[in-house]
């Protein structure tokens, strides 16, 4: 974008933020515990409201004098918050290892451990979500855990897009007023709900005022007049927002940020997402531009200050969870572009300023998404590709042509479908009216196949984990194997549904969320908490893990064992049990002599789509505890690694414990040998209705691809074809030198990685050593 730049203020704040150490914090846990102790006789929703109010009024706050947007849930930045209502047993077990665990480390103040064990842990024993659920249904959840990972067992539900428009229009004062009005005529059952809303909004208003006071206080010591003025301006914004809705762009951005800070303080959950923020904020921006209150440059600076804030909240998971969701993703997803409710192409100045902010900052948050459709303008598309070429992996792209019709098929009204957004990574949602439970559970289809091949025995431990519906030793035909596989899916799906219901019940009982409910339609109208089904839409999403490996394994068994009879079934079973020890030739054949998913080979791709369809269709026959539908997604964050650790050697030639395919729709590493267009074609065979909860396609490109405008143009054309193919999602990693070095070391995982050699493109792993070195040497961002 011409004529705008990153200011020194932003650079300073960014460096400051990144240099701060990351600590685990028990401060809010102490406040919450104290509040519960003092209100033991109150109903749970009031207890929750009082605990949040106390946190908002008592938690230590801080701000940088340079900040244009203020507010955080701890005084330090990027702190991991201990949250006893949802779960503290894991914290007790893992507190000492937080600084040293392999993934998502946090520093710890040793005295905190002691305080935690003396004052927090004893109170919550048997009372937290984690403990209650464990007591009620832990055994059953554990029994299916090899195949089904049930989520939200020790933390509140996130993955929600609050109604930012209502929030901006009403603010905490307006919502409090609304709840008070409701109280004059509500039923007895609704009373606690509305009272809890009044309480939390009071807390929020006080929280905002505290930031006003803090900034005023800081400004008093300030000699620099410009700085002083900026701080007073920020202070005034906070005070105004505590009493009135936002009017200016600066106020609106501050208001949005407060919304997300408070949502985090109430729930400490992953992925509350602003959604289509370019639409939400445009009227404030345009008005300010018209009134000459701000320039485009001013707006960009405010946006970048908000972008930094999105990086100041991280999410501390237990060590197991951190493996599945590595890098403490917090999932502030912002969508730009797309269409308006009439189907017209939509983008505005803010869409471009958001991309510009991402280009400048290159930070992990917010998770920036661009909605594409057939009518997306070249200006937005090209700009987005230029940002991709910078290598941060953002923005990612979503496809209106796939998403809108598929979520409508699920029962979403057209106007809501047209206005869809993304929560967290790639989970699809309507805005402001949906409790999507998009992360309900992950179903490991490959482990279910393992059970079908072994007669229900785990290849890794030899334990019985599933019923015996037959094994490779008993099936005469491939169809018999498929029948048994189907039975295994049914068996685990039924148990999964029961477990999901228990989790939901526990959330209703223990974690009602009045602040969140106030920003989700139609909870305020109906006087029902969001956890209890107050939202307009009540979905539950289950992830199918991973169809790519499943297709490859089934294709290999079908061709090598049953069609060509090159491998006897007993021999295959033996090889799987021994992790191919002494059977390297067999493994190599399974890997190389059978085509793989991702190469546009119809019969292989069909092996995956058939079972994904089966799973989806059967799942859709169930209703969740709130009365809404279950639906499917195809994504993992980093779960393909632990999910793979849990699966023994597989007929696709994969060794025991190796990761499964990454992404969700992506082919297995190194098995896509026909290039990116073949990958897209294979993926497009997965019907869009399979991914109403979100799909994830990861692709890698070398930076040289984006070296000039012709490369940018070709890439834009590639994305237009992605739209035509009705694939829901795609994201790009630009291959770095480190990737190439890794490819040199582990060629098998990178066999599909191509580089331009001489007259055409060659596979990197097949090049001679010195040439690999040469390519490594020339691969850098300096070229872009």
């Amino acid at each position: 974008m011409e004529g705008v730049f990153q200011t020194d203020r932003v650079k300073y704040l960014k460096d400051k933020m990144l240099s701060e150490p990351r600590y685990a914090s028990i401060e809010q846990a102490l406040i919450i515990t104290d509040s519960y102790k003092r209100h033991e006789d109150q109903p749970r929703i009031i207890q929750r409201a009082l605990a949040l109010k106390a946190s908002l009024e008592k938690i230590k706050i801080s701000a940088e004098p340079e900040e244009l947007i203020v507010g955080n849930r701890t005084a330090g930045v990027r702190y991991g918050v201990v949250f006893p209502e949802s779960g503290s047993t894991w914290v007790d077990k893992e507190f000492e290892t937080l600084p040293t665990r392999p993934q998502d480390k946090f520093h710890v103040h040793p005295e905190d451990i002691e305080t935690f064990r003396k004052e927090i842990k004893p109170y919550w024993e048997g009372k937290s979500l984690e403990d209650v659920l464990n007591e009620r249904y832990g055994k059953e959840i554990n029994e299916i855990s090899k195949v089904v990972k049930i989520n939200q067992k020790d933390h509140a539900q996130g993955h929600i897009c609050p109604n930012c428009v209502t929030w901006l229009k009403l603010g905490p004062a307006g919502l409090q007023e609304q709840a008070r009005e409701k109280l004059t005529s509500c039923s007895e059952e609704q009373r606690n709900f509305y009272e809890s809303v009044v309480l939390v909004m009071e807390g929020v208003r006080n929280f905002m005022l505290r930031y006003h006071d803090l900034m005023m206080e800081l400004s008093e010591d300030q000699d620099d007049e410009a700085k002083k003025e900026s701080m007073i301006c920020v202070a005034k914004n906070c005070k105004k927002l505590s009493q009135h809705p936002a009017e200016t762009f600066h106020e609106a951005v501050q208001s949005i940020w407060f919304l997300f800070v408070v949502l985090q303080m109430e729930s400490n959950a992953s992925s509350f997402s602003p959604g289509r923020l370019d639409r939400h904020l445009i009227s404030y921006y345009e008005n300010d531009i018209k009134e000459e209150r701000i320039t485009k440059q001013d707006a960009l600076e405010i946006i970048e200050c908000m972008w930094l804030k999105f990086n100041e909240i991280v999410y501390m998971r237990n060590s197991h969870g951190a493996k599945y969701f590595a890098g403490f993703p917090i999932g502030f997803n912002i969508a730009v572009g797309g269409q308006d409710e009439l189907g017209n192409d939509y983008s505005n100045d803010l869409s471009f300023l958001f991309l510009e902010a991402q280009k400048h900052l290159g930070l992990p948050q917010p998770n920036l998404s661009v909605r594409l459709h057939e009518g997306t303008g070249d200006d937005l598309l090209f700009e987005a590709v230029r940002v991709v070429s910078k290598g941060s992996g953002m923005p990612q792209f979503f496809n209106d042509k796939a998403v809108i019709p598929s979520v409508m098929e699920l029962g979403i009204e057209e106007k809501d479908a047209m206005d869809y957004a993304i929560v967290g990574c790639v989970e699809l949602t309507t805005q402001g009216n949906n409790l999507g439970w998009s992360d309900s559970a992950m179903f490991n289809l490959n482990k279910a196949l393992e059970a079908a091949m072994t007669g229900g025995i785990c290849l890794l431990t030899g334990e019985k984990i599933a019923p015996d519906y037959g094994s490779l030793e008993t099936y005469e035909t491939f169809e018999e194997l498929e029948d048994a596989f189907q039975k295994q899916i049914d068996y685990f799906m039924d148990k999964m549904i029961l477990a999901c219901e228990e989790v939901e019940k526990a959330h209703i009982d223990l974690l009602p969320s009045p602040f969140l409910s106030a920003s989700i339609d139609d909870c305020m109208e109906r006087g029902i908490d969001v956890t209890a089904g107050g939202a307009k839409y009540n979905l539950s999403g289950i992830q199918m893990i991973q169809v790519a490996n499943l297709a490859d394994s089934l294709a290999a068994v079908k061709q090598m064992v049953y069609d060509d009879k090159k491998i006897e079934p007993e021999r295959l079973l033996h090889a799987l049990k021994t992790n191919f020890e002494g059977d390297e030739v067999m493994r190599t054949m399974l890997l190389n002599k059978v085509p793989k998913y991702g190469n546009d080979v119809d019969w292989v791709d069909a092996m995956g789509t058939k079972w994904a369809e089966y799973f989806k269709n059967r799942l859709r026959t169930f209703k969740n505890y709130r009365g809404g539908p279950y639906h499917t997604g195809m994504y993992t964050v980093s779960a393909h690694v632990p999910m793979g650790e849990n699966v023994g050697a597989s007929p696709d030639g994969r060794y025991a414990g190796e990761p499964l395919a990454d992404g969700g729709m992506s082919p297995v590493y190194g098995r896509d040998m026909k290039g990116p267009t073949a990958v897209l074609k294979s993926v497009s065979k997965l019907d869009k209705n399979l991914t109403t909860n979100g799909g994830l396609l990861n692709m890698k490109f070398l930076p040289e691809f984006f070296k000039n405008e012709s490369g940018i143009r070709k890439f834009a054309g590639f994305l237009r074809s992605f739209v035509d193919l009705e694939i829901p999602h795609i994201q790009f990693n630009v291959v770095r030198r480190e990737d190439l070095i890794a490819a040199k070391k582990n060629p098998e995982q990178y066999r599909g990685l191509t580089v331009r050699v001489a007259g055409y493109t060659a596979y990197f792993t097949e090049l001679a050593d010195e040439l690999q070195n040469e390519i490594i040497a020339r691969t850098s961002y300096g070229d872009i």
């Binding site: 073949a678 001489a758 792993t765």
Partner: protein, 303 residues
């Protein structure tokens, strides 16, 4: 009709506009000492051995009847001149370390492969015929081009133009973009380094640049250190083509040191004992200035 093809590469992005599928025709009448696709020169099908892929199971050596595959310690040796059923050995090889360098395709089979990426051609891509020299199997090339045009697919060719003008005339109506090499102006040096005389090439360039498709032609010279990349060569080539058509597009291709890799693969000797490096941006700009002195104004370079 069948053609010998050594690769059909989807998602080619360097051989014309947009996302393309490039069909590599085997066989070339030229024998440039620096050839970037040396495996494409001979028309004969032959096996290749990819050492990186080999798991040393030695099954090939056990089944080899005339010593085509042997093992010496842990090293496998391929003798391509031995009489073997190479297709069988390639099929047998579990890792794909033994593979044929090319295969026979019918027009129908090539078209099936091409059609797979139709959805990508819509946004500015198409098909490129390359090689080898596609004009060596011109009848096969012609059928593919005709079929592509029938189906509305954009077509391009990369050719040395070492062919009869009549053949070129037959293909021209079906071509949307022509990349034609003009490597060396000096006749004797052309014979020495390219292996054939150049008058036929020069005449075909004239023919193209006087045709109504002259704006769809790009003349290219690869910069090979000491062999093509010198002032006299560039100014004279530029002079020749710009006198025929002053607005001619002329592309200067940087030297690509990575070609050497393929010589290892097929056991051939590369023209440089010490592989030179790519030219820098400023060197490329100097080449461009020489071409401009020769009379070309419309130059193309990827730097």
């Amino acid at each position: 009709m069948k053609g010998t093809i050594f690769d059909i590469r989807r998602f080619s992005t360097h051989d014309g506009d947009g996302i393309r599928t490039t069909v590599f025709f085997k066989g070339c009448p030229l024998s440039c000492v620096w050839c970037q696709n040396p495996e494409g020169i001979s028309l004969r099908r032959r096996p290749l051995y990819f050492e990186n892929r080999c798991i040393h199971c030695k099954m090939c050596a056990a089944k080899s009847v005339n010593g085509g595959m042997k093992c010496r310690g842990d090293t496998m040796l391929m003798n391509i001149d031995a009489s073997e059923d190479w297709e069988y050995l390639a099929e047998l090889c579990p890792s794909g370390a033994i593979a044929m360098d090319s295969r026979e395709y019918s027009v129908k089979e090539v078209m099936e492969e091409i059609r797979k990426d139709m959805v990508f051609y819509r946004h500015g891509g198409g098909v490129t015929l390359s090689g080898g020299e596609p004009l060596l199997q011109w009848e096969f090339a012609l059928e593919i081009l005709e079929q592509c045009k029938k189906e509305g697919i954009h077509t391009a060719i990369e050719t040395s133009l070492y062919a009869e003008q009549e053949v070129l005339g037959k293909l021209l109506p079906y071509l949307d973009l022509i990349f034609a090499d003009f490597k060396i102006m000096d006749g004797e040096r052309h014979i020495k380094y390219v292996g054939v005389p150049n008058p036929k090439i020069k005449e075909n360039i004239r023919y193209l640049l006087e045709s109504e498709k002259k704006d769809q032609v790009i003349i290219r010279t690869p910069m090979i250190p000491g062999l093509t990349a010198y002032r006299d060569n560039l100014t004279k080539i530029a002079g020749y083509i710009s006198r025929i058509y002053p607005d001619v597009s002329y592309e200067i291709l940087n030297y690509n040191p990575l070609a050497e890799a393929k010589y290892h693969l097929i056991g051939k000797e590369f023209c440089f004992a010490e592989n030179p490096e790519m030219y820098s941006k400023s060197q490329m700009r100097e080449f461009e200035s020489w071409a401009r002195q020769g009379g070309v104004s419309n130059t193309i370079m990827e730097i």
